[in-house]
């Protein structure tokens, strides 16, 4: 499709495990964002990529979280040693020349 694609849509894991969440942005969008949305809350900024580089990673909560975008298109958010508090919907968005953010449907992560 033409929108932002995120996989998996749902991920259930056990505490302490490693997870990867993938985002495929709209073709041609150079800016990519990861946000996290906890139940009953608005999204919280995690990290912003301009091309291949992380322009702003100030929202990553700790060093268990890491994100890459090696070819300036697909991005992967990596979470090590998951904790129950990491349970949330992880949203990816990309931005084109109009400045509008287009969000994917999110990856719902549940840590048991």
């Amino acid at each position: 499709g033409a929108g932002v694609s995120q996989t998996p849509s749902n991920k259930v894991t056990e505490k302490g495990k490693y997870v990867e969440l993938r985002c495929d942005p709209i073709s041609g969008h150079t800016a990519l964002y990861w946000y996290r949305q906890s139940l009953g809350q608005g999204p919280e900024f995690l990290i912003y990529f301009q091309g291949t580089g992380a322009a702003d990673d100030s929202g990553l909560p700790n060093d268990r979280f890491f994100a890459v975008r090696p070819e300036g298109s697909v991005s992967t958010l990596k979470i090590q040693r998951t904790e129950r508090g990491d349970s949330a919907v992880y949203l990816c968005a990309s931005r084109g020349n109009t400045g509008e953010l287009f969000f994917g449907e999110g990856s719902r992560l549940t840590v048991l």
């Binding site: 932002v4 800016a31 964002y33 009953g40 809350q41 608005g42 999204p43 919280e44 900024f45 912003y48 301009q50 322009a55 702003d56 929202g59 949203l91 968005a93 931005r95 400045g99 509008e100 953010l101 969000f103 994917g104 449907e105 999110g106």
Partner: protein
């Protein structure tokens, strides 16, 4: 840290009623956006307001940006069941530069419109 407070958190009304959602902050934002989010989907942009005092209309929805660019409101006239959803305001502290698109979201207002 810039915060956006939305009120009310929950709103349950009958079809045909009017409603207003408020978004307030002690900080100035260069622009403010309103999004609508349905269950299992990502937020979808409704409008961006940039100028203090600006009013934008989108069919039955009216958006206003405060004169000091610290607050905003969303007014829906004659609400319909199809308006049901989570409404989010989001502020951008800086236009352009590396923070553009790094939004601060309010906690959202869950609107339910009953037929």
């Amino acid at each position: 840290t810039q915060l956006l407070e939305q009120s009310p958190q929950f709103l349950s009304i009958q079809e045909g009623e009017n409603l207003t959602v408020y978004c307030n902050s002690s900080s100035v934002f260069s622009s403010l956006q309103w999004y609508r989010q349905e269950p299992g989907e990502g937020p979808v942009l409704l409008v961006t307001v940039v100028t203090g005092g600006e009013v934008k209309k989108l069919k039955r929805l009216t958006f206003q940006f405060g004169d000091a660019r610290k607050d905003s409101s969303l007014h829906i006239t004659a609400a319909q069941p199809g308006d049901t959803g989570l409404y989010l305001c989001a502020g951008d502290p800086n236009a352009g530069g590396t923070s553009y698109g790094k939004l601060t979201f309010g906690q959202g207002t869950i609107l339910t419109v009953h037929p």
